[in-house]
Amino acid sequence: MPEIILENVTKRFDKFVAVDNLNLYIADRGFVTLLGPSGCGKTTTLRMIAGLETPTTGRILIDGKPVFDSQKGINVPPNKRDIGFLFQNYALWPHMTVYENIAFGLEMLKWDKKRIAARVDEMLALLKIEQFVKRYPAELSGGQQQRVAIARTLAPSPKVLFMDEPLSNLDAKLRQEMRTELKRLHTDTNSTFVYVTHDQLEAMTLSTQVCLMNNGLLQQYAPPLEIYSDPANLFVAEFVGNPTMNFIPAKVKKIDGSTVTLDALGKEAVFTAKVPVENLGEEAVLGVRPEFLPIQEGGAVEGRVYSTLPTGMETTVKVACGDTMLTSVVFGNVDYPVDTPITLAVNGNGLMLYDKLSGNAVGQGSIAF
């Protein structure tokens, strides 16, 4: 199962830069998610690796072989790249039955009829769609169509499987189910998966590595939990995590090695980072995950309850602190009346400090007010 390498890949549409100097290494048998908001370039990147889109400059290698090289003029067409591609709208051929759809790719490989039939049966069983074998796509529900699309893509056992937002057309419950199935398939088929989504929850739960993009630029490429706990910049911090991380504006008073004295929430605080802080300007942003901001008697931060969203398992509380709105998560079956005064504690060692101007993370640590 091959590794995929992107070197300095750029894609320009006239003046608009869709993908800007992307460097990526996808380990074989990995499950890499290209994550980001609409228009960030993730689908374009996916299509470039698949060969459906031609990069403007750069190199792409699959399994050590260059499939694209702008300098050498190499551009292997998609049907020679030995890949599978699952489209967002499934692209099932409406005039063919489920069987014919799945068998198509195998016919192109010139397999004999018996072998095709066996493989199709295998796929139908794997995706649990045996009873639909003679139906037409228009007669199936969304979830069923999606399974057929997956079956069709997996039938020729491609080494790399590309998926372009395959779950976005399903309802919430089905999406949950399919996520589990996909993760299972990844293990069962032992292929490399490259997955595009804008849903950070999906990315977090499914992948081995997440490639977060914005405006064509790579923001961070790391395993999901690292992205969650150690977001490299304000964009990543804000994008990943639900509810969103709290951003507390702060003025930098003094930097002393790993200690930074800040003015935040009308109070003075001291931030202690794990390593010496560099590249920090005058303005900073303190990033605190809601779970590190518990409601506690006597906590350092004072405020009023703005609104609550109890789910039974946990309650999300929005607290107004002067001009700043903070979000806290409390586990358990609790609720707070609106407008009651409340105090929050700032716990933990995983708080992030960002330089406001560049947006980059400058340190991670704890804070004391």
Binding site: F87, N89, P94, M108
Partner: protein, 608 residues
């Protein structure tokens, strides 16, 4: 596509159902149009049917020695019985009509469909030029293309030995089967309708999701396999519809076989129909008309059956992916050049030919010394002496005819476009109900009637007791054109309305907006461009129609096209060419202006 809403008032008393029915404007519209269409299309059918069985004044009375108006089956016997007469007047022409219709259908689709594929699916160069110029042949009256063909290819070795442009310039003499007969009929009709095929098939291709082909590419299908197994089957309903439409038009075409068949004694059913009626064999003439219509109905039936079998092949959900165009690489420039040459020949060459033909004195002589602007702006008295008007641009009669034709086109377009939109609205709102299906089919029916038969029947209607106030009036022409050209307007109306979700109107209903305002302030502006295109198509159809009007105009010079046709018969060919060019220019100007002002163009009206 929404399923029709179940009739929730099924068990309520009749008075409530009636009231609910009447308060929905869509229902009222459907009933109104149903009555109008029945009167205007079915009534002529009844007239025609009775004529098939009665004895007429003149030849038939002499032949059968029966009183006029009596019932008889002899028309049928005479026409179908295996004898020389029926062979010459029915079976041979029937065979020829079929050959021409099928050939034209195949050719039209082959040319139009391929160009549609190249323009929508590949990275062909000069697409703008190709797609805007390629629609020209559709705007020209069909017989002028036939004339263009003979002007180009006639040569000293065929027909009367008159020299055409190709021989004059290249010295090449085409063989007889190329210049006259079934081959050029197929080519000319096919050429005339290929832009039509281009727009219909291109429309489907444009809206067809590219991911359907991309996914096949990734599964390692070759380009050719994709076309064969994916593209064509999905586009097949459009291809079949188009074929059937071209077949129907080709089958009932009158003017083209007149010009291209006589020289080699090749006749089609429509030319024979005309001859029979002229000689007084009206009964048989009408039987032939009926058969043409029957053919059309069978075609419509086949079309319905086929598209009904497989529900429309729209892709399942999701936004359509980015289009990945086929790279033609080294084949690109050669194909582009071939297409440009071909299209220039088919679309631009006729214009040049008409222009040239209108300025030469002596036919066949293309030297500069032989050229004159006399036919355009001349005032020579000698021309007048010979019974012809001088330069057409200086002639009063001509400008009046132009005025009338343009006025007719605009009035008909207004009526037909509006009706089309209203029918579209009503049929879509009541989709699936028996009433809307009836109206939709009836609205399309006039397309299948040969124009010549239509004109003849309406002449009889317009001179009968109750309707004689119609005869010779501009109003009659408006009426007949409106009925004949309604089909496409109603189709385009249905298509544009289908694209508007019902919720849009429902939101307005909740706000208490009355129906008229909903139409004019909400629905119409949303689909303005495609609705207006439905207005534009009748303009073109009227501007180039002649067979429909011949019997109904008070005199030949009343309209521009009938004047043109009579020129081609009796006048200098030069006048004919000049007037043809004028007609085409007027059409182009109208199309261009509308395009600039509103974004509508007639290709959107067809479905492009």
């Amino acid at each position: 596509m929404r399923k029709p809403r179940p009739n929730s008032l099924q068990h309520e008393p009749l008075i409530y159902r009636l009231r609910a029915f009447v308060t929905n404007p869509a229902n009222l519209l459907l009933v109104f149009f149903l009555l109008v269409l029945i009167t205007l299309s079915l009534m002529p059918m009844v007239t025609m049917l009775t004529n098939m069985f009665t004895v007429h004044l003149g030849t038939e009375k002499k032949m059968y020695r029966l009183p006029v108006g009596s019932w008889t089956l002899t028309h049928f016997k005479k026409l179908f019985e295996g004898s020389d007469w029926s062979k010459v007047n029915f079976w041979e022409p029937l065979k020829n009509s079929f050959i021409v219709a099928i050939g034209a259908g195949i050719l039209g689709i082959a040319i139009g469909g391929s160009i549609a594929w190249f323009v929508t699916r590949s990275d062909l160069k000069c697409k703008k030029f190709i797609s805007s110029v390629f629609v020209f042949p559709y705007m020209m009256p069909a017989w002028t293309l036939a004339l263009f063909w003979t002007n180009m290819f006639q040569n000293s070795k065929v027909g009367g030995g008159n020299i055409g442009m190709v021989e004059a310039v290249f010295g090449v003499c085409m063989p007889e089967w190329f210049v006259f007969g079934l081959f050029p009929m197929i080519v000319v009709i096919g050429m005339h309708y290929s832009p039509f095929a281009y727009l219909l098939i291109g429309g489907i291709l444009k809206n067809m999701d590219a991911t359907l082909e991309d996914s096949a590419t990734i599964l390692k299908a070759s380009r050719w396999t994709i076309i064969r197994r994916i593209t064509v089957p999905i586009v097949m309903p459009a291809i079949l519809s188009t074929f059937l439409l071209i077949f129907s038009s080709g089958f009932s075409s009158y003017t083209v076989p007149v010009f291209l068949g006589s020289a080699v004694k090749t006749y089609t059913l429509s030319t024979k129909m005309r001859a029979l009626i002229q000689a007084g064999y009206q009964g048989q003439g009408y039987i032939i008309a009926f058969i043409s219509i029957l053919m059309g109905c069978i075609i419509l039936g086949i079309n319905q059956w086929f598209t009904g079998k497989r529900k429309s092949f729209t892709t399942v959900t999701g936004k359509s992916g980015q289009v990945s165009l086929v790279k033609l690489r080294r084949a690109n420039w050669p194909i582009t050049i071939v297409l440009i040459i071909f299209i220039s020949f088919v679309a631009i060459m006729p214009l040049i030919s008409f222009a040239l033909e209108s300025v030469i004195r002596q036919p066949g002589n293309y030297r500069l010394s032989n050229m004159t602007l006399h036919f355009w702006i001349g005032t020579e008295a000698s021309a007048y002496e010979t019974g012809m008007i001088a330069g057409i641009l200086l002639n009063d009669t001509m400008w009046k005819a132009v005025g009338r034709q343009v006025l007719l086109a605009l009035v008909v377009a207004l009526i037909v476009g509006t009706s089309g939109m209203l029918i579209g609205y009503a049929c879509v709102r009541r989709r699936g109900s028996k009433l809307s299906r009836a109206v939709e089919s009836l609205a399309f029916f006039p397309y299948l009637m040969p124009a010549m038969a239509f004109g003849t029947i309406y002449l009889a209607v317009a001179t009968s007791e109750n309707f004689k106030w119609l005869y010779g009036t501009f109003g009659l022409l408006v009426l007949v054109s409106a009925v004949k050209f309604l089909p496409f307007a109603s189709r385009s109306g249905v298509n544009s309305m289908l694209q508007i979700a019902p919720e849009i109107e429902e939101a307005a209903i909740i706000f208490g907006v009355p129906w008229r305002k909903r139409m004019t302030r909400i629905l119409f502006p949303i689909q303005k461009s495609s609705i207006l295109s439905g207005y534009l198509l009748p303009v073109i159809s009227v501007m180039r129609e002649v067979a429909l009007f011949t019997l109904l105009v008070p005199y030949a010079r009343y309209l521009l096209t009938t004047m043109l046709f009579s020129f081609n018969e009796t006048g200098y060919a030069q006048y004919g060419s000049a007037v043809t060019l004028l007609i085409i220019l007027i059409i182009m100007i109208i199309n261009g202006l509308t395009n600039k002002l509103t974004g509508a163009s007639f290709d959107k009206g067809i479905g492009g």
